[in-house]
């Protein structure tokens, strides 16, 4: 049983990217963090795109967590995430943040930080530092 903390929602145009990244970061974070993946549109999620209502559904599922960090790929996934923020009840919206960070590095860093029991602010700070990561 994972204690309450900051949950991560990965949002990509592609269901495969979102699910693959979820698998990767859960392994890296030794499963000490809650991660959900949202990607693709339509009933089978096969077409590329992001469905704000699916993002909302996942946020509602994790509404009892201390915080929820959304990490998106680019373009319309950001618009979808922003659209969802407008649909959330005030209290819940306060603990949801869209991370301004690259998808893979940002999700990875956020998950590692969250797995240590860090606060939402700490998760946001670490994840956004991933913007300046060098590969070598």
């Amino acid at each position: 049983m994972i204690k309450l903390g900051v949950a991560i929602i990965i949002v990509s145009h592609s269901n495969k990217i979102a699910e693959g990244l979820k698998e990767l970061i859960l392994q890296m974070a030794k499963e000490n963090v809650k991660v959900e993946a949202v990607g693709g549109i339509g009933s089978d999620s096969k077409a590329l795109g992001s469905d704000p209502l699916k993002i909302k559904e996942n946020i509602m599922k994790m509404s009892s967590e201390d915080g929820i960090a959304l990490v998106c790929d680019f373009g319309s996934t950001i618009l979808s995430a922003k659209a969802v923020l407008k649909m959330l009840p005030e209290e819940l919206r306060k603990k949801v943040v869209i991370l301004d960070t690259p998808l893979v590095e940002g999700a990875f860093t956020a998950a590692i930080e969250a797995s240590t029991g860090a606060s939402l602010e700490e998760v946001v700070k670490s994840a956004e530092e991933a913007r300046s990561f060098h590969k070598f």
Partner: protein
């Protein structure tokens, strides 16, 4: 001539918009191929097909205008890929919120609905303004035109004529603009010379409403 639009009118208008979008799928795709990823036509068609499916199970006689537009919003949010999904989805959602519980809508309410819809686009777009080469270039003058028409106490059909003319002009004005939003913005100067596909689909929507109200379609 119509003075009000009922739930049934909105249902018919939305279904006409679906047909117009389908007829213009290739046109929208061609506009998007020039400066985007060529998927606006197919995305919009897919979205409005699903709108038609979802409206097909709505009992229009017991639904207010808000229900019709909220159903439209949900189907677009769930089924349109690309930026058009959240943008049009939130546009229709904000419109629906203004007319929730209303069985008929007059010019004044319609103007407020479009204003609320435009506001949501600008907000989730991160403060989109006219001249960014987006849907806002079509819809901003539409809202201005409608407000003007309401102040002049024009008939509904005249209000929509003004809106449709403003939309066409707004859409055409995007041709000479450099894109500042979305994928097209990466093209910089090369985005000039093409009408924005979102501005074009927005014009088609407004034109269809005008044609319905004026009895042309």
């Amino acid at each position: 001539m119509l003075q009000f639009l009922s739930s049934n009118d909105f249902l018919k208008i939305i279904l006409k918009i679906r047909n117009v979008i389908a007829e213009n799928k290739d046109y929208l795709a061609a506009l998007d191929a020039a400066i985007g990823d060529a998927d606006h036509g197919i995305n919009m068609e897919r979205g409005f097909d699903s709108v038609a499916d979802q409206l097909g199970v709505v009992d229009v006689n017991s639904s207010d205008v808000g229900v019709i537009l909220m159903t439209t919003s949900t189907a677009l949010l769930e089924n349109v890929g690309g930026a058009a999904g959240p943008l049009y989805g939130m546009f229709f959602m904000n419109m629906a919120n203004v007319c929730s519980g209303k069985n008929i809508v007059d010019s004044e309410t319609l103007a407020r609905m479009f204003e609320a819809g435009l506001e949501s686009l600008r907000e989730i777009g991160g403060g989109t303004i006219p001249n960014d080469k987006t849907m806002v270039d079509t819809l901003f003058p539409v809202v201005e035109g409608m407000k003007k028409a309401v102040n002049l106490k024009l008939e509904l059909v005249e209000t929509l004529k003004l809106a449709s003319d403003a939309a066409e002009k707004g859409m055409n004005s995007t041709k000479d603009m450099i894109a500042k939003r979305g994928r097209a913005s990466y093209l910089g100067e090369r985005s000039r010379g093409h009408i924005d596909p979102g501005a074009a689909s927005s014009y088609l929507i407004i034109k269809t409403i005008y044609q319905y109200v004026s009895g042309q379609a």
